[in-house]
């Protein structure tokens, strides 16, 4: 048996691969659910109902999908250029923190303030990834290590800030930062739900990222540099500039996730406001095969698992940690699925 590279990857395989990966991951997780003493079919039924069963649950799921689209785009942009940004979680939190900090006392109307705060969150996220990118370009330091470790540093820093200088005196002892001014809360998309217009921003961001990657000179240079660095260098494409550009874009998207989450949902920053949006973004990007349109669909799936797992947990008693297990399994099965889209098995 040997693996043979496909000359052409047919479109149907591109679509089937993530579906097969998800199916396999659910099958594997079913074993764990069964081990917890629950019929997997019942559990998955509860999960589906919990995430998609009512108007409210659908809006809840979409609210959860919004930051996942941003962090998924952040990972997809970076991975395409072979910049392994594992620091989406940290960039999410600095974006959130800077937004809350500035947004608490900014004295401008909402229509100016909201874009300004989004820009601030993007800048913070971009700045956080610029450091590891510089270290890689200048000294060859592995960005997987630096970005991953920065996540913990940032979360501890957030803890420090919300216990200290940014503590909200009105939160009755809850460790939360001061909230953004009411003028800077994102309008609801559907009244009396948590779903806010950030979802539209996220979808627009996916469109913008697609446009940048597929149509601009920067996108073309990034693709060339990611696929064959020495050929790109021979053609006169500056690798440091490409990598730095990608780092700024990727960091900005993850920072924007935090910014929008604060303005749209939480108002203030807490250390528990993210159930791992940054890490889940990596899975979203992989399930999407790094394609911006796929990111939107994959984010909806992961959000369904997250939101559905809570409902399933309430109904069946299976711990909701099963959501993390399913998402992590998806990453593994997707990597295997990608092998089969790139290669054909020959006897």
């Amino acid at each position: 048996m040997r693996l043979e590279r496909r000359t052409h990857v047919p479109l149907h395989l591109v679509v089937i691969a993530p579906l097969a990966a998800i199916f396999t991951a659910l099958l594997l997780a079913a074993g764990l659910i069964a081990a917890a003493g629950v019929n997997p079919l019942t559990a998955y039924g509860e999960m589906l109902a919990g995430a998609l069963g009512s108007r409210l649950s659908i809006t809840e799921m979409l609210t959860r999908a919004t930051p996942l689209i941003f962090t998924g785009l952040a990972a997809a942009v970076a991975f395409r250029a072979r910049l392994w940004n594992i620091g989406g979680e940290g960039q999410f939190f600095v974006g959130a923190l800077v937004t809350a900090w500035i947004g608490h006392s900014l004295g401008v109307p909402g229509w100016i303030g909201i874009p300004l705060l989004m820009l601030a969150g993007m800048t913070a996220g971009a700045a956080l990834l610029a450091g590891p990118a510089y270290l890689r370009l200048r000294f060859g330091v592995d960005e997987v290590v630096t970005t991953l470790l920065l996540n913990f540093i940032v979360i501890l820093f957030v803890g420090l800030m919300i216990e200290g200088p940014m503590r909200d005196p009105l939160a009755f002892g809850w460790p939360s930062s001061v909230p953004v001014d009411g003028d800077f809360r994102l309008p609801d998309l559907i009244p009396r739900t948590r779903l806010h217009i950030g979802l539209l921003f996220a979808i627009a961001a996916a469109g913008a990222v697609w446009l940048i990657l597929a149509r601009t000179v920067f996108g073309a240079e990034t693709r060339a540099a990611g696929l064959n660095a020495s050929a790109a260098a021979f053609a006169g494409i500056s690798l440091p500039r490409t990598i730095m550009g990608v780092a700024l874009l990727s960091g900005a998207l993850a920072g924007l996730a935090g910014s929008v989450e604060v303005m749209g949902v939480t108002a203030g920053v807490t250390t528990t406001m993210s159930p791992g949006f940054g890490y889940a973004g990596i899975v979203v990007a992989m399930l999407a095969a790094l394609h911006p349109a796929g990111v939107v669909a994959a984010a909806v799936f992961v959000a369904t698992v997250f939101v559905g797992a809570d409902a399933m947990s309430r109904a069946t008693g299976v711990p909701s940690f099963i959501a993390d297990v399913i998402v992590a399994l998806c990453l593994l099965t997707m990597i295997v699925a990608l092998l089969f889209t790139t290669y054909r098995v020959r006897r």
């Binding site: 000359t7 073309a220 060339a224 260098a233 021979f234």
Partner: protein, 506 residues
């Protein structure tokens, strides 16, 4: 003479492609048979069937009169067939002896019989004239020595029929000639050999008999003494292929001048006070054994490495400090040494590769957006003008054959109207038809007034195309000689660095 090997009616299909179509071939004892054919003619497939890597759809393999079971490499090894692959299969961190022994001992054996193995290896090395140090680490060996280890590996398993797949692909000319002498001696010890090649001069120099494959079919068998390179080339390609000929014409003004240029990379001196001039309408050939500074010279003229001393000027502009884009703007076109590593991004489409060097020019972008329509039109033009076969602008570039890929690179360089062209090993690994096409394009560019620097390890090519030739040895360049005065002997001396002694004598 006794037949040691008979392939009868071998047919092998991959999907819709028929790689081997009813191929029949025999090998006599003590014979050297050359299996000649272009890339993709089915040579390697046929040998893989013989060796049991593939099972044939039809046909039989007989070795010493006995039929081999299909698809079992071990069976082939047991009856005495050995294969030396084009890409070596050696472990660099092990010694020569360990590499040779690897896989020849049963796993269940408690103690490895190192002493006996060493004895046997030395005996074989002595008998076949392949001297080695059994304790040397493979990593520290030269390419030629590694190949010797590969051959010894096969002989250690008592091979009496040896198959060599493109054995000279990685060797410099003198090493290749030495290899063929060794192979000739080995046949006197009763070995029979098949070597796969697409290089005519090798086949003529080293074989007793030639079998020519084309499109999976055996099209001809000749005694080497009764054929000639012209006939073989025609049989191999299926039509008359003649490499174009350079005609003397008037050479113009200097275009590119290097004056005492030094290049250091990783703290090592790679080019040592190099001076040369390329004129309008001239091809300057740089010949030499690989690894003598060609890579640095190529890098220098591509804008990837910069001189630490001396001047490099293109049309009176100092270009020593320019990067690739600056070089292109200054009027340079660059054909890289390695198509796959530097020439193209295989996963991208043809049109993306065609405009890769000039993405930021107004021709192919506007306000930061790529003008895809313009790029596709331009690429369609290249495909037509440079006869790039089996491709559209949206085809993935890695699907092109080596020759078509090289035509794409030449096309993107030459349509830009360059005043100077660097052609670094432009025909390496190409088959005869593609070589002729590349030569014709270079000569056409010369006729239009481009100044061309050709770096080549193929002497025939350098002599055929160049107006003047300089040799590169250990980072230094010889004085130029006119190509009309160049004979193989003189060039051989130059490549060995003998010009300096001549200077002293004069």
């Amino acid at each position: 003479m006794t037949k040691v090997l008979e392939l009868h009616g071998i047919t092998k299909r991959f999907g819709t492609l028929t790689a081997n179509d009813d191929v029949t071939l025999t090998l006599a004892e003590g014979e050297i048979l050359a299996l000649l054919g272009e890339n993709g003619a089915g040579k390697t497939t046929l040998m893989n069937i013989l060796f049991g890597h593939y099972a044939a759809d039809a046909g039989t393999v007989r070795v010493f009169g006995e039929e081999l079971p299909p698809g079992l490499p071990r069976a082939a090894i047991e009856v005495g067939v050995g294969m030396v692959h084009q890409h070596f299969t050696l472990a660099g961190n092990l010694t020569v002896l360990e590499n040779v022994m690897l896989g020849s001992e049963p796993l269940t054996r408690a103690r490895s019989a190192r002493g006996e193995a060493r004895e046997k290896l030395l005996q074989i090395a002595e008998r076949f004239g392949l001297p080695v140090n059994p304790e040397a680490k493979v990593r520290s060996l030269s390419v030629g020595e590694r190949q010797r280890v590969e051959i010894l590996k096969a002989l250690y398993r008592d091979a009496r029929i040896l198959i060599l797949d493109e054995p000279t692909a990685v060797l410099a000319r003198p090493e290749a000639m030495r290899l063929f002498e060794t192979l000739r001696d080995m046949t006197k010890e009763g070995l029979s050999l098949i070597f796969i090649s697409h290089k005519l001069h090798e086949v003529m120099a080293a074989s007793d008999r030639v079998a020519v494959l084309r499109g999976g079919k055996m099209v001809a068998e000749r005694k080497t003494s009764e054929t000639n390179p012209g006939e073989l080339a025609e049989l191999m390609v299926g039509r008359k292929v003649e490499r174009p000929v350079r005609h003397d014409h008037k050479i113009g003004a200097p275009v590119l001048i290097a004056n005492n240029v030094r290049v250091e990379e990783d703290g090592e001196l790679r080019l040592d006070d190099v001076s040369f001039t390329v004129h309008t309408g001239e091809i300057l050939g740089i010949v030499g054994v690989s690894g003598n500074g060609q890579a640095s010279l190529g890098g220098l003229l591509s804008g990837l490495v910069h001189p630490s001393a001396g001047q490099l000027t293109l049309l009176d502009e100092d270009i020593g400090h320019l990067g690739p884009r600056g070089m292109i703007r200054a009027g340079a076109g660059r054909v890289p040494e390695d198509r796959h590593a530097e020439g193209v991004v295989g996963e991208l489409s043809l049109w993306e590769n065609a405009v890769l060097e000039r993405l930021r020019t107004p021709e192919f972008s506007r306000r930061g957006f790529v003008r895809q329509g313009a790029a596709r039109d331009y690429t369609s033009g290249l495909i037509e003008r440079f006869d790039i076969r089996g491709a559209s602008p949206d085809t993935r570039t890695r699907l092109l054959s080596g020759g078509n890929m090289q035509k794409l690179i030449l096309g993107r360089v030459l349509t830009n109207g360059p005043r100077f062209v660097l052609a670094n090993q432009p025909t390496r690994g190409l088959d005869e038809g593609a070589i002729a096409a590349v030569h014709a394009e270079l000569l056409a560019a010369r006729a239009e007034g481009a100044a061309i620097l050709l770096i080549s390890e193929e002497l025939e090519e350098a002599v055929a195309l160049s107006d003047r030739i300089q040799a590169i040895v250990k980072g230094r360049l010889s004085e130029p000689i006119s190509a009309n005065e160049a004979d193989p002997q003189r060039l051989g001396l130059m490549m060995a660095g003998v010009w300096k002694e001549n200077d002293n004598a004069a």
